[in-house]
């Protein structure tokens, strides 16, 4: 009896939803955005901001489902198995789509074969920083210090196998020194270690450290193509054009999702990301809103793989 009632209710809801939508690219709601990380983290916050906007433009309930675990790989594998009807989107980043395929010999998903891009939603920069008491004042000073003190040239990143980890290797390469890497359990502990002068150099996402500059942490340079803050140069400006690269969050869907549905989702996501209050909130977090077509998103995936895969391979880093 009860099950029957639920069935009727669901059927009614489906009918109601369908009635309000053009028939061609209908998505049977509710739509869920799978975030493969715990609730409350940076990427979760962005997903929730966008879910809130998509609700209005798609006329559907949009929920954020957190499936944390194994650095995001559990949630990614889970999303891969969901129906490819546009009702499931997954939030991904370079760790899952660029690094993981190289460092895991047995990865349960293939970024290209199992998923199709929808839109890039957010771009964040990396930065190199030092404790406020450090004698290092700028990028030139950093490289010189590393050359002079190869035995103390340690750097910290928020996680082993994260892009900042490999970014630090690039800096060491520029100085011709193999720096020792120490991973901290996330950005918080790394910030604490930098403020307390427990580690000489830190490499992390810019938005994780910008609030502490310049009193508690000295950010030497950011790694994007343009400055994030007037007083902090880019590595390129400081004379190291090869030290460049950004991180991102993107939305993808299971690979077999029909193209018209993807385009519809992409348009809605772009509209959500570019709405003024979302732009302001994403900028307030220290990163930049994106909003791209599926094709542009795909091109970014490809370009970043070309940039990072040789560096990751050269580092010899293997997770399993």
């Amino acid at each position: 009896m009860r099950r029957c009632c639920v069935g009727v209710l669901v059927a009614m809801m489906v009918v109601l939803c369908a009635a309000g939508m053009p028939a061609a690219q209908e998505i049977k709601g509710p739509i869920k955005i799978v975030v493969p990380y715990p609730a409350g983290g940076g990427s979760d916050v962005v997903a929730r901001l966008i879910a809130d906007k998509l609700k209005d433009s798609l006329g559907q309930t949009v929920i954020v489902e957190n499936k944390p675990g194994a650095g995001g790989r559990i949630g990614t594998e889970y999303a891969k198995g969901q129906p490819a009807d546009g009702a499931t989107m997954l939030l991904v980043n370079p760790a899952l789509f660029v690094v993981a395929p190289v460092v895991f010999s047995k990865l349960a998903y293939d970024p290209d074969a199992d998923f199709a891009p929808v839109s890039l939603i957010q771009i964040y920069q990396f930065c190199a920083s030092v404790p406020p008491v450090s004698p290092i004042k700028d990028v030139k000073g950093l490289i010189e210090w590393i050359k002079k003190n190869p035995n103390q040239a340690n750097y910290g990143s928020p996680a082993a196998g994260s892009l900042p980890h490999f970014f630090g290797l690039m800096i060491g390469k520029a100085a011709g020194v193999e720096m020792v890497h120490s991973s901290y359990n996330g950005s918080g502990p790394l910030v604490t270690a930098l403020i307390g002068n427990q580690i000489p150099i830190g490499v992390d996402a810019y938005d994780a450290q910008s609030a502490y500059h310049p009193d508690k942490i000295r950010i030497l340079a950011t790694a994007g193509t343009s400055r994030k803050q007037p007083d902090i140069p880019t590595f390129k400006e400081a004379g190291f054009p090869e030290i460049e690269g950004v991180g991102w969050n993107a939305l993808v869907v299971p690979a077999k999702t029909p193209k018209p549905v993807i385009d519809k989702l992409s348009a809605a996501v772009v509209k959500a990301v570019r709405s003024p209050d979302v732009v302001e909130k994403i900028k307030g977090m220290g990163s930049d809103p994106a909003g791209t077509t599926p094709e542009e998103c795909s091109a970014v995936f490809k370009k970043d793989r070309e940039r990072w895969v040789p560096i990751i391979k050269a580092s010899g880093f293997k997770a399993e």
Binding site: N154, A159, V180, G196
Partner: protein
């Protein structure tokens, strides 16, 4: 005088009808989820986060903070009544709290845990108001060497957690350390002992382990004994505390509060570690340590005060520096970001009303909680008279719901069942689970900091002895080792022919 004007600003912010209401709502929800085993503040705050988007930032933070410390109040209830820790930080409360309940003194245990929490919460709020800024500097003095030495100190101290054989206690600590090794290696990213199961890449879940070893195992044990199945062995005695209880508990509350206030500031599970530490200190201070584990009120008062104080002072690094010391506060940081407040050193100056409003609301929340909880004691105690055949399926169902909600994954439920069986084996072997839990909590931090220290010094172990703070902890640890070992050696000689391991 600046403090007074700051507090006045805080009261202005917190004592509006709306903010008082959100404080009450938060405290109420927190108590409820604290009582439900497994469903912790992490999941609750995650679920409620979107509903706070529409609120002003101060109200949102007041409510979320209320959930967090409310859960510390509620978490002890199931620990005491049915030996299922409602929250991770209430694990150690099971030891004496549940024994008290079995002796018919559940009312006294619940009352002291509410009163102790209130005293601790009030004190910690004051600490937060007066010392937030200087205390936040403390965390920076802790490099890898200091953390490592602190962990060594804690592990050696944890031997006193055991009320039986010392050898078995050491064995359980080591086993806990080994269980803590499961998962992704922080330094190299390699998977260890995961057997290709992706869920194990993050290690064994603390909630699964604690719930299995205590709650599930207790149910198996109770079902085994036909005649003593009902929790209540003796008649209920008065709900209120006796004078004797108060005299014993008051100093324990004080020590627990101090211990929790200090440890809460350190990143990484401050509330859990502080409750264990407070228990250890109590047992070491007591003239009659053998009473611990048999239903000693000090064994409830100290850890419950400590975890509440720690929950409150863990706001220090978040509010002063924007560094969340644990997952729950990381979520608070997320909530602040959604409201356009970048958590960081600038919050105090850019949003003084928010900073002081939240602090004052914590004290108000504690008043609300104690008023809320004391009348509930009578109701909770009556729960014990429910026949066990009805009670235990209900406990199991709530455990499963809670476990599933941790990661939205059924794997955790299976893991807990396995831990329950393991707990049953330990019970049969008379091995106590508390030292194992502590080893499990401290192990990963011990290893991470040992390796980071060695890595950064390029393999030179002298860092652990040349840094003053680190040296102090190591000397204390060595002292404790001698203090623990001496009586054992002496007694060992006296009973040279008896194969009997001494009590600590």
């Amino acid at each position: 005088m600046e403090l007074l004007s700051n507090l006045a600003l805080g009261f202005q912010t917190a004592v509006t009808p709306m903010n008082l209401l959100y404080c009450l709502v938060g405290a109420l929800i927190g108590t409820l989820i604290g009582v439900l085993p497994g469903i912790g503040p992490v999941q609750t705050i995650a679920i409620l986060l979107p509903t706070t988007f529409a609120l002003p930032p101060v109200s949102a933070l007041i409510m979320l903070a209320g959930i967090y410390y409310g859960a510390q109040y509620g978490g002890s209830t199931t620990s005491i009544l049915v030996n299922v820790p409602g929250e991770a930080s209430s694990v150690v409360t099971c030891l004496d709290g549940h024994q008290m309940a079995r002796q018919g003194r559940a009312g006294a245990a619940l009352t002291i845990s509410a009163l102790g929490s209130f005293a601790a919460g009030s004190f910690a709020t004051l600490v937060l108001a007066v010392l937030a800024v200087p205390l936040s500097e403390l965390a920076f003095q802790f490099g890898p060497a200091e953390y490592f030495s602190l962990m060594v100190f804690g592990l050696i101290g944890s031997v006193v957690l055991a009320s039986g054989s010392m050898l078995k206690a050491v064995g359980m600590i080591v086993l806990g350390l080994l269980l803590g090794m499961i998962g992704t290696d922080v330094t190299s990213g390699a998977h260890r002992f995961t057997f290709g199961i992706p869920e194990l890449a993050d290690g064994v879940g603390f909630v699964s382990l604690a719930m299995g070893l205590f709650g599930i195992c207790d149910i198996i044990n109770s079902l085994e004994k036909r005649e003593t199945r009902d929790i209540l062995k003796s008649k209920l005695t008065g709900l209120w505390l006796k004078k004797e209880d108060l005299r014993m508990a008051a100093p324990a509350v004080l020590r627990g509060t101090l211990c929790g206030s200090l440890l809460g500031i350190l990143p990484g599970g401050g509330a859990i570690i502080s409750s264990f530490t407070a228990y250890m200190i109590e047992k070491k201070c007591a003239r009659d340590p053998e009473r611990f584990g048999q239903g000693d009120i000090r064994g409830v008062a100290a850890p419950e005060s400590a975890n509440n104080a720690a929950a409150q002072t863990s706001f220090v690094p978040l509010l002063t520096l924007g560094i969340p010391p644990n997952v729950i506060l990381a979520m608070m940081a997320g909530a602040m970001m959604i409201h356009g407040i970048q958590p960081g050193p600038r919050v105090i100056t850019s949003n003084p009303a928010l900073f002081w409003g939240v602090i004052v609301s914590m004290w108000l929340g504690n008043v609300i909680l104690v008023v809320l909880n004391l009348p509930l004691v009578g109701i909770w105690v009556r729960l014990l008279s429910v026949p066990y055949r009805l009670l235990y399926p209900a406990i199991l169902v709530f455990c499963c719901i809670g476990l599933y909600s941790v990661n939205n994954n059924t794997f955790d439920i299976g893991l807990t069942a396995l831990c329950g069986l393991l707990g049953y084996v330990f019970h049969k072997l008379e091995c106590e689970p508390a030292p194992l839990i502590l080893g499990f909590v401290l192990g990963p931090m011990l290893e991470e900091n040992l390796r980071r220290g060695m890595l950064l010094s390029r393999g030179d172990p002298s860092v652990f002895f040349t840094r003053p703070l680190s040296l102090v902890f190591l000397v204390l640890a060595a002292g404790m080792l001698i203090a623990v070992a001496l009586p054992a050696i002496r007694r060992g000689r006296e009973r040279a022919f008896k194969e009997d391991y001494t009590n600590v």
